[in-house]
């Protein structure tokens, strides 16, 4: 379903580190743990990883400095920042320092997994892709059209956005917060059911045309589009 990744986990709180490490290993990923900012910078520079999960508050060297250090050495590994600081400016600082994604503690493990998967497979599916295809479902990103087996499906802009995310990450979980970020450009959880209400309409439209429901609800995590037919 997803490929195995080499992940560097930088987290000084041993409880959190153990929890995340076990979760990543449970998904078959290969995990290296660093508890200190300097170690993280050293290991991150010496070895090659598919992704780095970087806590923001670290002893030795702060997470932001580790990130800047890696970027200064032109190490392009995707970095997911973890933070207990949910402020708007904290997020801005993190992204400006070169983080690819930003997750505020506490987070669900599935949320972390979903975001890591999205980061890890970023290169093979470039943003410039113009056509997405899952089974008989076709999406033309330039003409903003969706069709199933040649039949056009008329979608509202937000329904189109939701489907685009599901198709880009076909076979993987897309969480509520990922939808909110990508489709609504909201980097906080408004604690409402806008994702669900639009998604149920999208599903109904797809079902009407195709007679099947490729979108699965993953309990407590988000949604997934089945990629196999």
């Amino acid at each position: 379903m997803h490929h195995v990744m080499r992940v560097l986990l930088v987290e000084d709180d041993s409880e959190t580190a153990r929890f995340v490490e076990a979760g990543l290993q449970g998904h078959g990923h290969d995990v290296t743990v660093a508890a200190d900012g300097r170690d993280a910078l050293r290991i991150g520079g010496e070895e090659s990883f598919d992704a780095i999960v970087l806590d923001r508050m670290l002893p030795g060297l702060a997470g932001l400095d580790v990130l800047r250090g890696l970027r200064a050495r032109e190490i392009p590994v995707p970095v997911l920042m973890l933070t207990a600081m949910g402020g708007v400016l904290d997020r801005v600082d993190g992204l400006e320092a070169g983080a690819d994604d930003y997750l505020v503690k506490p987070f669900e493990l599935v949320e972390l997994m979903a975001r890591l998967n999205a980061l890890g497979r970023r290169p093979p599916l470039a943003e410039s892709t113009t056509r997405l295809e899952v089974g008989s479902l076709m999406m033309n990103l330039l003409r903003r059209e969706v069709s199933w087996g040649g039949t056009l499906i008329f979608l509202q802009p937000r329904e189109f956005g939701l489907l685009e995310q599901l198709m880009r990450h076909a076979g993987e979980v897309v969480t509520r917060t990922m939808f909110l970020e990508k489709v609504w450009n909201l980097d906080f959880d408004p604690q409402t059911n806008i994702v669900e209400s639009h998604l149920s309409r999208l599903r109904a439209k797809l079902r009407d045309v195709s007679g099947e429901d490729r979108i699965e609800t993953v309990r407590g995590a988000g949604y997934r589009m089945r990629s196999n037919s």
Partner: protein
């Protein structure tokens, strides 16, 4: 010594020094010039007498001297002719035979006794020596006058400097004492103290005003901090106690663990909301503000929430005037709109119609969210934006009482305000923000 006294002192010392230098220069210059003039006059007188001697010998010279001495009331010169042996043969100048050339000599005056004088002695034929002298009294007079004048000026400058120092020092001390007293009072704990301002707009008033604005700002930040701490202390206790009791039930009651986790999440959400409000009220976010198309954002939010409203059996309608731009943070404005909409769904029954209206005039943008639900008693209107305030009727509905506090904080951070409309049937909130021209 205070700075003011020091400045005034240095100034008057500098003036006094300038006068001293000037006095010295004038004194020396005048003295030298007068001596030069005196030597010239003596030489001229001397030459005239030498001519008399050449024309008529000693007798003519004696006559000429006698004539000049006779009118010596106005003539400051004195004369003497000595022979080879040093004996005075003519003239009234009571002195010994000087060497040839110019000298400062002392002669004895019949009236005044010993008197300094300037003399020029010239040798004549026959071993005679002519001495023409001039009393230097006049020079002393001039020198003394100059010294007196400048001495007086010097004393006046010193006196004026001292008086100026006292007046300036007293004035500065007086003006600064207001600031000083305010600062000391604040240090002592009276944080309401402010710098007293005079009516004018001089540098002191400007500094005072700036200090007062700074104190107000610090006061706001402290109030903000105090509010956060007291919120955390008081209003998190209840959910924490609830969490604790739920944890106690874990193991004995089905689903207790899930409920505890839910309670924990609610607590964290509450924390995030408190911190978010504090962050907004701190004003630090303003550095991220950009021109934001509120028309587009409002439409986006309305279109996003319409299905959710429909699912809950409510109707969401909207009327958005295009092209209304404000300076702000898109995330915060979105959150404010979401909270306003969320507020209506929490506190109205199914079947309610909610209407969003965005309009503007050249200066302001008005965002209203109105519903035709039961409304809120007017008596509650004042309290509704305070933190953790929940109206009696909504005690039983979910919510943490922070939603509208956050809306108010967002409005304030954007130099706007939020108000409840009194004259509507249901409930209507209007957020007013300053408008900027179309994005350019």
């Amino acid at each position: 010594m205070t700075a003011a006294y020091r400045i005034a002192f240095v100034y008057s010392a500098a003036f006094a020094l300038a006068i001293l230098v000037l006095a010295t220069a004038v004194y020396l210059g005048a003295d030298a010039e007068y001596r030069h003039q005196q030597d010239l006059a003596i030489a001229e007188e001397n030459a005239a007498l030498v001519r008399e001697f050449h024309e008529g010998g000693l007798p003519d010279l004696s006559k000429a001297i006698a004539k000049r001495q006779a009118r010596s009331v106005v003539n400051a010169y004195a004369y003497a002719v000595f022979d080879r042996s040093g004996r005075r043969v003519t003239g009234a100048l009571e002195t010994t035979r000087p060497e040839a050339g110019s000298h400062d000599i002392v002669f004895s005056d019949a009236r005044e006794g010993a008197d300094p004088a300037r003399a020029l002695a010239t040798d004549l034929a026959g071993g005679y020596r002519l001495v023409v002298a001039r009393d230097t009294e006049a020079l002393w007079q001039i020198d003394r006058t100059i010294l007196l004048l400048f001495g007086g000026a010097f004393i006046v400058v010193i006196a004026m400097g001292a008086a100026g120092a006292l007046i300036l020092g007293g004035y500065l001390r007086n003006r600064l004492s207001g600031i000083h007293h305010a600062a000391m009072a604040i240090i002592a704990g009276d944080l309401q103290q402010r710098v007293p301002l005079a009516q004018g707009n001089d540098e002191f008033d400007q500094v005072g005003r700036a200090l007062n604005m700074m104190l107000d700002r610090i006061g706001q930040l402290m109030e903000n901090l105090r509010q956060v701490s007291s919120d955390v202390a008081h209003d998190l206790r209840t959910p924490l106690l609830r969490l604790r009791s739920q944890l106690e039930q874990v193991g004995t009651e089905e689903g207790a663990a899930a409920r505890a986790i839910e309670q924990g999440d609610a607590l964290l959400t509450l924390f995030a909301a408190i911190l978010r409000i504090a962050e907004i009220e701190s004003g630090a976010l303003a550095r991220n503000f950009l021109p934001t198309d509120l028309s587009a954002l409002t439409t986006d939010m309305a279109e996003s929430f319409a299905p959710a409203f429909a699912d809950d059996g409510r109707l969401l309608t909207w009327t958005v005037d295009p092209g209304l731009v404000v300076i702000g943070d898109r995330t915060l404005l979105a959150q404010a709109i979401i909270n306003l909409l969320d507020n209506t769904t929490r506190h109205t029954p199914g079947g309610t119609t909610v209407d969003i209206r965005l309009s503007g005039n050249p200066d302001l943008v008005f965002l209203s969210v109105a519903d035709d639900g039961p409304g809120v008693p007017v008596t509650e209107h004042q309290r509704i934006f305070q933190r953790f305030v929940r109206c009696e009727v909504s005690r039983t509905t979910p919510g943490n009482g922070l939603g509208l506090s956050l809306v108010a904080a967002v409005a304030t951070a954007h130099a706007g305000r939020v108000a409840i409309e009194d004259d509507t049937a249901g409930f209507c909130l209007t957020m007013t923000l300053p408008r900027i021209g179309a994005q350019d």
